[in-house]
Symmetry: C2
Subunit: 409 residues, 2 copies
């Protein structure tokens, strides 16, 4: 039995009601026994949809379906199952998706492209789609006001706590709600731990504008986290805008009137992404790594992720060891433009290096104290320009080995 | 106290005498107490030198020195210390190198560029060069026939066994010796990791030809291994050809008369590289990953290393879990050209996948049996062309965490 992450929140957050969204969950027995594993969401007619997906070349069948479907920009239903990823399932994969979509279109009297699907779980095993479709009619009858916590629990696999985030913002004086749920804990690990995130709002935004806003938020949140560097076959972020709150439809993602809305989406994505890291498999410390002085933001992010994925840096953090030499080595192998002799590394706010070496009077005492804490802050200025990025990760512990050395068995 | 790797050989190999090479070792007390930490090698006049180095942008001062020095192509002495990497030591770094080189040139009455230096150990601490130079005169007096095992032990850091390999070949009927030593067990990844290797021969080869032969051998050996994906600041492979065996000097690296010599260098490099993996920190299984059907050899190597560096694949292997789904995911995220629906994955020679899914009658029994062994063979055909490569790695175990969570303290 996996222990609950030490970073689990005391309770699930209080998320707003999102007009135009109805949910239901069920125990379809796809893999698990005695727990819910199937989520159905219904959206009002006219709901816009946007999505960001894994770049894996072994992407799962549901990911391929959603990539095509969001091109139409409209959503009426979302079907998510946990326990089986429907990934690397050969010709059976698309058949399972089409069977699911077909059963759903009958219930909602909608077009196939208006049905989005997502799966997470074991790779390479056929998904028993008959159990899924058998559960749909009853789910459809039970659709109602969103129980976000139940929904978040339903899509979880190795997660040790349910992940939700939300906020209320205003657009032209009209209150608008944003609520999101996510799952993932082996970052984005290719077995039972894919990252799925679903964000819902009652704002009225066209699909192309929603896509731009979601992609920007994802770049600064879900794409800036790593637990173990393993991108999954099923990673999916979908956002739905029902429009039920009005005040009117927006089609310019850069519209100044949407500033608070964009900030709200950013905040919800970042909160969910950080929760995924805080539930990282075996994590005992939460680490933020901020890179400044890089060629541009992409370069900064790549340097940050190289440091964040270094097993030597991650194990040093697990051991509360202020081993900044491993940070230097990781920065050096990132392959980005840096100036070794202008590297400025700070841990817990304490400057450690300058002029290509440690400060002459470097005192490790406050840094060692910081390293013994649970929240670790690393800042690295690489000294060449003004690109910056922050990434988040956890440490690499015995717990990670415990979870992953015999997860499947 | 770290346990000796289960893959340690029963005894150090019997390496040939290499004419024109004299060695001595000493306990200079640079960091360690009660063990040798300083190696001095003397080469006959006219010895050619070649080198391959880390591509890290935070490369250490001795690496920068050697990169320049081998441009002259001649070597008279090699000085290697363990315990301190002289990396990220600011302006002090080059001063330490120059002081070491200067003291050595006085002993050998040679030019600075004829002195090669290498360091391994902690990053970012000043190297007490006075202890190093104080030990040199006595070392110089004690130079004699190579004790390869003592030399290999002297340059070790976290290694659990001394690494050596050698062979005898003929060039135009003349016997020629090749002997090599290496160190490394963590921070190991292509582009030379925290790995030092020194290869010695009494063949007569010009420096440019030696460079070509060494670079080719390195591409197939040291650059095809990974323990933790962490390239280091100090990785160095140097090769010295004293010419004392004759029969005459060769300047064409592709000369057919050097075929056996090239094969010998390849074999020695591969043997040493595999020993580094077999001594990987915490390794309990030795894994070979062969990629075929890729766009080209570089693409194949990149796919292989992505699989080899996946923490999820490595932990599955540690747990003897035939979790080929994680292999599919790692292949997918490598970003190389592959055909998901033609992936053919074999473990222990047993075909597992075809047509984008597992074989309909896949029987895990023999694969599970193979996974319980100590030597794991994974073969992956990615189905697009005929590029191939083999890479080697170990598993990711609790032992790795133990070693690295408090290495420095």
């Amino acid at each position: 039995m996996t222990k609950v992450s030490p970073f689990a929140p005391a309770h699930f957050p209080d998320l707003p009601v999102v007009g135009g969204v109805r949910l239901a969950v069920a125990a379809a027995g796809i893999r698990y026994r005695d727990r819910n594993d199937l989520l159905l969401a219904e959206f009002d007619r006219g709901t816009s949809v946007a999505g960001v997906f894994t770049r894996s070349q072994t992407a799962a069948a549901p990911v391929q379906w959603c990539r095509d479907a969001i091109g139409q920009g409209q959503a009426r239903a979302l079907v998510v199952n946990a326990g089986n990823a429907n990934a690397f399932t050969g010709t059976d994969g698309p058949v399972v998706v089409e069977t699911t979509v077909s059963a759903t279109t009958h219930l909602f009297n909608c077009r196939p492209s208006q049905v989005l699907v997502a799966s997470t779980g074991v790779i390479g095993e056929p998904l028993p789609v008959d159990r899924l479709t058998a559960a749909l009619p009853d789910l459809h009858l039970r659709l109602g006001e969103a129980d976000w916590q139940a929904a978040a629990r339903t899509i979880a696999t190795t997660d040790t706590f349910a992940k939700g985030a939300g906020c209320r913002v205003e657009i032209e004086g009209t209150p608008v709600a944003i609520a999101g749920i996510a799952k993932g804990s082996g970052m984005i690990a290719p077995d039972m731990a894919t990252m799925l995130a679903f964000i819902f709002t009652d704002a009225s935004i066209t699909a192309p504008a929603l896509q731009t806003i979601l992609a920007a938020a994802t770049a600064r949140s879900f794409n800036c986290i790593t637990v173990d560097g393993d991108t999954s076959t099923n990673d999916t972020v979908l956002m739905f805008a029902t429009g039920s709150a009005g005040p009117r439809s927006f089609d310019d993602p850069a519209d100044p009137k949407l500033a608070a809305f964009r900030a709200g989406v950013d905040a919800v994505c970042l909160d969910l992404a950080q929760q995924v890291v805080r539930d990282g498999e075996g994590v005992s410390k939460f680490v933020s790594i901020t890179i400044t002085g890089a060629q541009d933001a992409d370069s900064a992010r790549h340097i940050g992720l190289t440091v964040a994925n270094s097993p030597l840096v991650k194990t040093a953090i697990a051991g509360s060891d202020a081993n900044w030499g491993r940070i230097v080595a990781a920065v050096g192998r990132a392959g980005e433009w840096i100036d070794r002799d202008r590297l400025a590394i700070r841990i817990g706010g304490v400057l450690i290096t300058e002029d290509g070496g440690p400060l002459p009077d470097y005192d490790e005492t406050p840094v060692a104290e910081h390293m013994r804490g649970r929240e670790i802050a690393i800042e690295i200025d690489v000294g060449v320009s003004d690109g910056s990025a922050t990434v988040w990760t956890g440490d690499l512990t015995h717990g990670y080995i415990d979870i992953n050395a015999d997860y499947r068995s």
